[in-house]
Amino acid sequence: MAVRCGALPEIAPPMGEDTDATPTLNHRGFLPDHNYVTEADIISTVEFNHTGELLATGDKGGRVVIFQREPESKTEPFSQGEYNVYSTFQSHEPEFDYLKSLEIEEKINKIRWLPQQNAAHFLLSTNDKTIKLWKVPVLMPMDLMVEVSPRRVFANAHTYHVNSISVNSDYETYMSADDLRINLWHLDITDRSFSILYIVDIKPANMEDLTEVITAAEFHPHHCNLFVYSSSKGTLRLCDMREAALCDKHSKLFEEPEDPSARSFFSEIISSVSDVKFSHSGRYLLTRDYLTAKVWDLNMESKPLETYQVHDYLRSKLCSLYENDCIFDKFECAWNGSDSVIMTGAYNNFFRMFDRNTKRDVTLEASRESSKPRAVLKPRRVCAAGGKRRKDDISVDSLDFTKKILHTAWHPSENIIAIAATNNLYIFQDKLNSEMH
């Protein structure tokens, strides 16, 4: 399938293009350099809202930038559907927990939109400890700018680091998950004593017995009582909140037996699930671990329906990837609107798409050099070291592991994707095939 570089091939970060930066010290003490990425600008989450009209990004500096899609114009066909900056605000600030002598990072871990109600949009943003609800007003013609305001702060509910938030289909509750616990909140109630406490708590009585942590969690898109959470052991647990207040026992456990012949020092690390997403239909689950993406059928717990190798050529390099910490990178994954294609990121600014029906896959690159505005992205290929090399192929040893695409998002109904490559956001549109099929 061809994906065209959309009307906006890339969007510079709010801090300004790094090539134009004047050589002054920013507040973080880094000298902006031609090639140096200010750490605060690194995008840490990307999320479309339910209509796809808005796109939110969060970064390591605690800021949220919201983009809005311009309405299509008949007079200027190429400017249709471009995303422009709609609003920017500081969501979280660094905090210091004096009791525990801990610094709490301001990095935005996740953003989730609420369905639009009335004239305003709402989104949830979270760092490691605190979740905030923001009201994003609709820009009226007389307004000069959009002022986003905080409506709720959900704090002091997580001892460990929050990795996921998910809004329930009832639009009244949402959950937040950290390493050991999942908390259910009512959107209107911030006082923790009124929120339903831990719907999941896997903290063992004796921490010495700890063997796994929660890595991601999500509500079912249609059934407000069902949710799934993934673990560092590569398992998925589907839980039904109707069965018990504390969902200690899962309704279903999805686990693929380990291949004993494939055991290595790093087996546990590469089997840890970094992201889990329900399909739009609610029938399937998509998971990502270090080397693969898997599609699971909710009715089959024994093994995944499909397994896709994202970058299996890294299997022999796990040792170096462990040494440089890349093996701990948490890649996200995404479904397209019709659940026929899945997408996930990789290294060297590559991202991969797998068509579930045709079984075809493609590797594309998000970079300024390789994509001119409105040009068609050229498929890339990684060849194993020493393998037959075609022109434009890149060998495994030449991959840049500092350029990782961890966060990607797919428009809910159209073939528009948002790719976060370090501090740059790329938006690609498929002009030919705007409709899902």
């Binding site: 055991r263 290595s264 701990f328």
Partner: protein, 298 residues
């Protein structure tokens, strides 16, 4: 069975890399990441399993060799030929191997440093260390201490229980006894986890050979008084170790202190607050699993 073929580094290096990661995670922004440390502890466990297996294999090979040599010696007694210096060493090592304390797999405080035998000797590299109850000046460690550093309890014979260690060992070990708050620096001692010794790789054959040292170990540490104690221990360790010329030593001594401290329970390490529920780790210490998970805790 862990496939080690694809790994570019050996188990020992992986252990030291993992320990450094755990060590560095303490100072990372945002606090200790439980997930990452848990995963690192799994690598640590896997590497140790491989390391121990390799050592067992080595001991077994050595044992077989020594049995052969013993037979040869007996034959030679009938035929008075000169013994090699090699054989003398082997006998020493065989003695060291066989006369050990049974409970612990890892060397404990009271072992003899057989590697201090002529360092030039190749086989010294795989000298066996173990407890030696035959030494008069040796102090019997408490059984609970054994448990603390015991890896997997396994029903093997005395000789097999002592993983051969390379001659890389610490020249100095600093241990904080939380009961008495005494910091003890041990000369030519061995950490109760061999892997740490290897990871530290300090002072190879720089010492004079063939010295038996008495080693005192305090009880493994529970972190009831945690941060202040740990910091104090580290400061004292740094002061005591400053005379040592190895540039890597400061870091490695901190790691050895870490390992001593993390013999204690997981939850105690996790909480930075003085938690009066945490008892001295004598009762809390457990097997390898607990040890590796304890590392995660901090």
């Amino acid at each position: 069975m862990i496939n080690t073929m694809e790994c570019a580094v050996d188990a020992q290096s992986l252990i030291s890399i993992s320990l450094m990661k755990i060590h560095n995670s303490r100072t990372q922004r945002g606090g200790i990441k439980l997930h990452k440390n848990l995963l690192v502890s799994y690598v640590l466990r896997n590497a140790r399993q491989v390391y121990i297996k390799e050592k067992y294999a080595e001991i077994y090979r050595m044992q077989q060799y020594e049995e052969v040599m013993t037979v040869c010696n007996e034959i030679q007694e009938l035929n008075p030929l000169e013994l090699d210096a090699e054989d003398a060493d082997d006998e020493e090592q065989a003695r060291a191997a066989c006369c050990g304390e049974e409970a612990s797999l890892c060397g404990t405080a009271c072992h003899r440093d057989a590697a201090q035998q002529p360092a030039a000797h190749g086989r010294a590299e795989s000298a066996l260390h173990g407890c030696s109850p035959l030494e008069d000046d040796h102090k019997e460690p408490e059984p609970s201490y054994y448990r603390s550093c015991c890896m997997e309890a396994s029903p093997v014979s005395h000789c097999d229980q002592f993983p051969a260690n390379s001659s890389a060992h610490c020249n100095k070990t600093t241990v904080l006894d939380l009961d008495t708050h005494v910091v003890t620096t041990v000369e030519n001692g061995y950490l109760h986890q061999d892997c740490c010794c290897d990871a530290l790789q300090c002072g190879q054959s720089a010492q004079s050979p063939a010295k038996k040292r008495k080693v005192e170990f305090g009880c493994c540490i529970s972190d009831v008084e945690e941060v202040s104690d740990f910091t104090a221990a580290r400061k004292r360790a740094k002061r005591e170790d400053c005379s040592y010329s190895n540039p890597d030593y400061t870091d490695t001594s901190n790691i050895s202190n870490l390992i001593s401290i993390f013999g204690s329970g997981f939850s105690g390490l996790l909480s930075r607050q003085a938690d009066l529920e945490q008892i001295c780790s004598k009762q809390v210490l457990a097997s390898l699993g607990a040890w590796t998970r304890a590392i995660v805790a901090f």
